[in-house]
């Protein structure tokens, strides 16, 4: 798995928020006020007891600190890297009201879990197991499924995770910008979940036919399939060579299949994934990268800090414009023909690559083929419409606790 770490990609995508050194972490941890009923903990979808883990970090009780995090969130390591902390824990920090920078909770959490994983002792304390051992299948191996599977395994249940792709981890492995979470770190966390007793089967896609057999094999199923394919633009020219949807583009460079981008790239859309794709295009060598959005900056769905980040990467924004047609020559993209939605003026942006990033479809095929007797749970992007990793982890944990409470704790 480690051969994923392509040195060229690693060089071009260094950590946006680098790891703390030991002393840095100590100084930062000691800034924490240790609030009562801390707002950061309330703001966290998995309710990590932030002051508690930071307190333990400050006293160099590293294992205690990590276990405090993992007790609330088994995927705390990836969350520490990918969470939009500006709108979660760090956004809620009381320091904002004191004209001071918030505590760097995300980086402290990463430090605690990096130390934990490096220690070689990643065994978790045992939890009370249920009255009977359940057999549970988790479909998809993204954060929601891994969280659900890990929580159930910790309580003594037998869990199998099914993943259609060659590697587990879902968007953590294939879809998060490399400078936030690299695939190696994502896979380390997958191995950690496996170490809790979870079986992960990759390259096994669950179709409706296979799904119907689950009723006989499992007591409950958790669906953590995420969203469906990326939406198409629905304009002429989408089949040209050089049109690559944002998630495929990101997955390709993360797995080392793509090491460069052409000189001129246009990203259509203005969400967080669009920013990730545009920034990646810059880092892969594109000189001109623009993001095209039919509305204005006020309506863009990317977080404010992502917008700022994209500008720092050198991405240009074209507001109030939508694509009409992708122009091509000899089967390859040569430009994007667009129209201003306010004035009706048409214009063309010369480019060699167009990256549609206008969201993913909802894929509920399996849900519709559900069998009556099978207890089905679902969470993550599939049910919440596409939020953050931490929301998926919270969903997975809630589902696990519900499964355990309904079937594991009572006698059948």
């Amino acid at each position: 798995m480690a051969d994923l770490a392509n040195p060229e990609i690693a060089r071009r995508f260094p950590d946006l928020h680098p790891a703390f050194a030991h002393q840095e972490a100590a100084v930062e941890a000691n800034r924490c006020l240790y609030c009562f009923d801390a707002p950061c903990t309330v703001a966290c979808p998995t309710h990590i007891d932030v002051p508690r883990f930071i307190r333990k970090l400050a006293s160099e009780n590293f294992r205690g600190s990590a276990l405090t995090i993992l007790d609330a969130n088994l995927l705390g390591a990836s969350c520490s890297r990918v969470c939009p902390v500006e709108v979660l824990c760090e956004g809620a920090c009381v320091m904002h009201r004191y004209n001071r920078a918030p505590i760097e909770i995300g980086r402290l959490q990463r430090f605690a879990l990096d130390v934990f994983h490096a220690s070689g002792d990643t065994e978790l304390p045992s939890l009370p197991s249920g009255a009977r051992q359940l057999r549970v299948a988790c479909v998809g191996s993204g954060p929601a499924s891994l969280s659900c599977a890990g929580e159930l395994a910790r309580r003594g249940h037998k869990v199998t995770v099914f993943e259609a792709r060659p590697l587990a981890g879902g968007l953590n492995t294939y879809g998060v910008a490399e400078y936030k979470l690299n695939a190696e770190a994502a896979l380390r966390e997958v191995e950690f979940i496996q170490s809790l007793g979870v079986e992960i089967r990759c390259n096994e896609e669950i179709d409706s036919a296979r799904f119907t057999q689950f009723a006989a094999e499992y007591d409950a199923v958790f669906l953590g399939l995420g969203l469906g394919k990326m939406e198409q633009l629905g304009i002429p020219g989408e089949d040209l060579h050089g049109v690559v949807d944002a998630l495929r583009f990101i997955a390709e460079y993360k797995t080392g299949e793509r090491l460069s981008a052409p000189g001129r790239v246009v990203v259509v859309g203005a969400g967080n994934t669009a920013v990730d794709a545009a920034s990646a295009a810059r880092r892969l060598g594109a000189n001109d990268v623009s993001m095209l959005y039919r509305r204005t900056v006020a309506e863009m769905s990317a977080f404010e800090f992502e917008y700022e980040h994209a500008k720092h990467e050198g991405v240009e924004f074209r507001w109030l414009a939508k694509p009409l047609r992708i122009a091509g020559q000899a089967g390859r993209v040569t430009g994007l023909e667009c129209v201003r939605v306010d004035t009706g003026d048409e214009f063309t942006i010369p480019c060699e690559m167009v990256i549609p990033a206008i969201g993913q479809s909802r894929g509920r095929a399996l849900l519709e083929s559900a069998q009556g007797s099978l207890k089905i749970f679902a969470g993550g992007d599939l049910t919440n419409g596409g939020r953050e990793v931490v929301d998926a982890v919270a969903d997975g944990k809630r589902a696990a606790l519900a499964i355990h409470a309904q079937f594991g704790e009572t006698h059948a």
Partner: protein, 439 residues
């Protein structure tokens, strides 16, 4: 422009800031650089029979990332030949005639030994003598240092020997490693001392390395108790200085020592009656240049307060320290939380509830429903985010003033300046102390 010059027990110096006897005053080159930097005097690293030091020698206590809150040492007196030290003292005095050079002395408890080294020091040109009856480590095992300071009769006797021949003022450096500093100060005075220096270092073990299980400082796997100093010991030193100043039989000129790092510390020692202050740890931590702020800061504070000389404020706080029985039982303050400053950390709530008198409450607003599911706020799905710059009412605590005992704890833990103030409550009751109530 305020005048910082002092005449302390007959020793004159351009300002009250002296290097304490220790590593920063180990040799002439250091002392001369210190004088160039602005120090008014220096108490030379203790002279005596040359010793051999161990390696390593120092260890410290850090607090929350702040280095050297307290420093511990197991270094002995000067390890340089006596003749070299004396020659350098003479040279320093020749070049810096207006600065104070005090010879710190420690020899075996024999009259001839003490009188010989006194004679040699004064012949070299020392402006005064400081008898080191304070060092708690190493030398005390050989019957010197704090072994003398812990026995009032020895303190008095050796002070008398020195006074028999001394031509310069004699200071006695006291050890804090005793139960009552006044007893030692009285003995020094009975022996004829012109003043005392207080305090020397406090017996300490700063800590143990949890990997090797070796105490610090590590001398080949073993350690020994050392002398503790630095900012951490200041409150102990201030108390001992006050004890000496408030006792009729112990009262005498005091050179204050113990954690002086800034002009504020210096002002506090002088307000409790000290004539000069001595500094070691801060100079070891930051170098001689810190004297610039000591002098400049004290000068500016004196200007602001209208004090022309050190004598104008020396000892002014001494009468304000009384025995508990003389405090006013009817004086009442209560905590007031200024909600415009409150950031909602609620540390005061926890502190009052767990550590004090359960009179701070969180009942001013409806708290969020703990059972609701929290998700990442996505503008597209959830609308604009709440403004976190305003503290929500439910996080602003309320003080039950009727129950508040005015202990200060909430104001002490509050991280925001002036957010919690302890306000006087007029209750119309006249002054009454425990002493008066018991009549």
């Amino acid at each position: 422009m305020p005048d910082l010059s002092v005449n302390f027990a007959g020793i004159k110096s351009p300002n009250p800031f002296w290097l304490a006897s220790g590593p920063p005053a180990n040799c002439g080159e250091q002392v001369m650089r210190a004088f160039d930097a602005g120090w008014g005097g220096a108490v030379w690293k203790t002279l005596g029979e040359p010793i051999i030091n161990v390696c390593s020698r120092y260890s410290s206590v850090d607090l929350n990332g702040q280095r050297m809150m307290g420093l511990n040492n197991i270094e002995l007196i000067s390890d340089r030949p006596l003749a070299v030290n004396l020659r350098e003292i003479a040279e320093v005095k020749r070049r810096y005639p207006k600065h104070a050079v005090i010879a710190s002395l420690m020899v075996e408890s024999k009259r001839e030994s003490w009188q010989e080294i006194v004679k040699q020091s004064e012949d070299a040109g020392a402006d005064g003598l400081e008898l080191n009856f304070g060092c708690p480590h190493g030398m005390s095992e050989r019957g010197m240092g704090s072994a003398v300071g812990q026995v009032p009769e020895y303190t008095q006797m050796i002070t008398e020997w020195v006074r028999e021949i001394a031509r310069t003022p004699v200071l006695v450096k006291l050890t804090p490693n005793i139960s009552d500093i006044r007893v030692a100060a009285r003995a020094a005075r009975r022996g004829g001392a012109h003043g005392v220096s207080a305090i020397n270092t406090i017996n300490s073990i700063t800590g143990i390395d949890l990997d090797t299980l070796r105490p610090r400082p590590d001398v080949g796997g073993l350690s020994s108790h050392g002398g503790y100093c630095g900012p951490a010991v200041k409150p102990i030193a201030l108390n001992m200085v006050q004890q000496i100043g408030a006792d009729a039989d112990a009262r005498q000129p005091v050179s204050g020592i113990g954690g002086v790092s800034s002009w504020r510390d210096a002002a506090e020692f002088i307000l409790l009656g000290c004539g000069t202050v001595q500094v070691c740890t801060a100079a070891m931590h930051y170098g001689f240049r810190i004297v610039e702020d000591l002098a400049d800061g004290l000068d500016n504070w004196m200007r602001e307060k209208g004090f022309a000389t050190l004598e104008d404020f020396r000892g002014l706080s001494l009468p304000k320290v009384v025995e508990w029985k003389n405090l006013d039982l009817n004086f009442k303050v209560v905590a007031r939380i200024h909600e415009d400053k409150c950031i909602g950390c609620d540390l005061c709530y926890t502190a009052c509830r767990d550590g004090a008198h359960q009179c701070i409450h969180l009942d001013r607003g409806k708290r969020p429903d703990a059972s609701r599911i929290t998700t990442t706020p996505i503008p597209k799905l959830d609308g604009p985010m709440a403004d976190n710059r305003v503290t929500p009412l439910h996080r602003i605590p309320r003080v039950d003033e009727a129950e508040c005992v005015g202990c200060n704890l909430c104001a002490l833990v509050c991280p925001v300046e002036n957010c919690i103030t302890m306000d006087r409550v007029e209750n119309g009751l006249a002054f009454q102390s425990w002493e008066q109530r018991n009549i």
